[in-house]
Subunit: 221 residues, 2 copies
DNA sequence: AACTTTTTTTAGACTAGTCTAAAAATTAGA
DNA sequence: TCTAATTTTTAGACTAGTCTAAAAAAAGTT
């Protein structure tokens, strides 16, 4: 099996994630933004990953993962989410404290370790942020009926199913207002001029900006 | 706190380990051998680590860790041994399967993670190979009355307390002959011309070469 | 003390990953 | 469709870590 550096793995993961909500190829600039790096660095890396047949890349045309590239990305995501689950379930970290550590742990090379960790955790289906954990075979069980809070309709009742995991302050804010996975919410109103969502939860009303509302996924009841 | 690369950390650990059974400075060549690298590479790294005040180094004089360097080395060793303990105690790996994985895990940066892992494991005193685990403060509890099997005397009765951890085949061999931590042994004879040690254990007699006998530590009864 | 061998350092080169600045290609607009 | 703005690539430089080959220093030997 092809041996990858941490940097290569981080690129693959980023491309995979961007591909999730983009049809067609991923642009150099979008990837540079995601990776907090410069477009010229991205171009260099794309050439290398293309050489290793992890993605397809043609000058000025952006890139798209091959099946091999996707498999690698999913393996890294699997490890990331399993380790986050370990940190929260076994070591009692908060969901706002685990992403950075998992960014490191996801690069540990040992399939045996990953699979035993999975077993030790009882084969969890989702991580502490509600994201599905890919299985040993790389398959993600589709999460049913989820929509973004930003796409909800006034009057809906729903359950919080997932949140973005990579901003500590955002997660701490959710802690403060008492929003967790499983929290029931009512969509009270939406402000047409800025996209804010007014939500009733835990007996009080909270207003979420469109930015926040895009980072919370819910299951309408 | 000073941020170190994996390579720098591996050098510090190697220097610390070599210092354990060497008085005075560590030579460039010895370190190169330990690190499986070339003397010229070692010289470059020594300059860098000296610059960071992790060790003292003068041309042609070898090197010695400063207190800061020692503290860093002990922190890495602490993580290595805690992770090995986790792998064996919680994930049911064999003692022959964990060293390589721990070589990676020891570089994960998070004091909070290390300390919570320590607690999760019940504050173990020794790792799966019998090596003492440094505490949060970097102190190693001295392991009492241990000697190397190679230094034992004929007629001694003893208990196996520790083994070298870094050669998979060696540990598999010990598994095969049924030698574990806690195994009681009798020193039946020593061959003066090659240093071999004849040991009675588990009802049969085994002969250990001097090389092997130096990699097993025992506590005489 | 002089010569030889060993150890250690230096010099120069290479790869991986990143950057800035400039050139080239693509896309958008009039 | 021609020009302007944007995106992407190239060129060249830098750091970290490694290597080989050669020079310099230290240690060993007559
Ligand atoms: Mn995460
Ligand atoms: Mn990462
Ligand atoms: Mn080990
Ligand atoms: Mn290591």
């Amino acid at each position: 099996m092809l041996r990858l550096t941490q940097s290569e793995e981080n690129y693959l993961k980023a491309i995979f994630t961007l591909s999730q909500d983009t049809e067609g190829a991923i642009s150099t600039n979008d990837l540079a933004e995601k990776m907090l790096t410069k477009a010229s660095s991205v171009t260099d890396m794309l050439k290398k990953l293309c050489e290793k047949e992890l993605l397809e890349y043609q000058k000025y045309q952006g890139c798209a993962l091959t099946n091999s590239g996707k498999a690698h990305a999913l393996a890294i995501i699997r490890k990331h989410r399993l380790w986050e689950t370990f940190l929260v379930d076994k070591l009692n970290f908060g969901w706002d404290e685990v992403h950075e550590i998992a960014e490191q742990l996801e690069h540990i090379q040992s399939t045996e370790l990953t699979d035993r960790l999975d077993e030790f955790l009882g084969f969890p289906k989702v991580d502490p942020h509600g994201e599905p954990i890919p299985g040993k075979d790389g398959r993600i069980e589709s999460v049913s009926n989820r929509i973004l809070l930003s796409e909800s309709l006034v009057g809906m009742k729903a359950i919080v199913m997932g949140v973005e995991d990579d901003q500590t302050e955002f997660l701490q804010y959710l802690n403060k207002i008492g929003l967790h996975l499983g929290t029931p919410i009512d969509i009270a109103d939406k402000l047409s001029f800025d996209g804010s969502v007014l939500v009733n939860m835990n007996g009080k009303q909270v207003q979420f900006s469109i930015t926040i509302a895009k980072q919370i996924s819910i299951k309408p009841l």
